[in-house]
């Protein structure tokens, strides 16, 4: 099935993967310097253990294996 296309002009996003998004996780492509902890279960366990708040960025416009979002 052809993936939905996220097209947006204002503030409402159709929830859809980026075109042709495969399974590989793009985490290692992020070079912001933010120490992301993924997946969620790992982040939650770390937050509980270290008594930290979780900073969560949901992405609605699609994430691609090349690190795009």
């Amino acid at each position: 099935m052809r993936p939905l296309v996220a097209l947006c002009a204002a503030s409402l996003f159709l929830i859809a993967p980026a075109a042709g998004a495969p399974e590989a996780h793009p985490l290692d492509k992020d070079k912001t310097g933010v120490e992301w902890v993924l997946p969620f279960d790992k982040a939650l366990a770390k937050a509980k253990q270290e008594k930290r708040l979780i900073a969560i960025k949901p992405v609605a416009f699609g994430t691609s294996p090349d690190g795009g979002w």
């Binding site: 993936p3 993924l38 982040a43 708040l53 900073a55 960025k57 609605a60």
Partner: protein
Amino acid sequence: MLRAGPLSDERVIGLLNRRFVALYFDLADRGAAADPAARKFVVAARPRLGGRAVPTPPLLIMTPDGKVVGETSNYSSTAQVLSMLLAALEDHPEYNKPSPAEQAAATPLERARIQLNLQDLEGARKTLARDRSAEARYLLGHIARLQKLWGTMGKHFAQVKDDSLKDDVRMERAYELWYAKKHKELAEHLKDFPKESNRYTEARYYEGLAAYHGGDKEQAQKLWEVTIKSCSQDPWIYRADWAYTGLKQGRRTMVSSAGKRVSLLNRIGYMGRRNPDLQGPN
């Protein structure tokens, strides 16, 4: 956009890494960063993010038991993100305690770096007051730069005699020219910045801004394009890509995840706020 902006800012990164557990995920279960468990956790607190069409998701700060204690728009400025993060910590001191590694910090430099991450600039300044080392003088100059205290910055940097910090001092001094809108001087100051320097991409980014604000948009685009294509990715490359894409997109705000991408990094969208540096220093 958030990633090329606030999430690429050293102050936000320092605070996030010091006091938060950071997570991003794709709301679409087939996206490359899909995470159904994260989606369930977030949608329980923010049901509006559970539909098939959703508003632009904000950056959320949540307790491990699922309560939202901070929230800011995807299009927030760095100052807004920082303010929200600090407010969440202040309201919830139970999640704001020093880690064992922080408690073990022994030297003034180590303690000052932690204070700097926590945005306690005055605390860091006091911690370093008696440290005469080049690194401490450099850090004091850096703090003064963040506070835009240019005279103080200059005095501290004049005491940094360590050649290994030469490029850092040069880049830090560039900010005074940037904020004074001395674009010609800024371009001259950053010209031929050594490529092997850890501040190279930052210097090229500001050299591009100097060209842009000096009226040479084509030169700015060219400079950013060459830098993005020839350097490893880092926060400054992200920021340059945001600026480059903003210029290429012009006033167009429609973007598509399936269409041809303007971003040299193949970013999916830079909707909303344009890179604020294109408006000038703030």
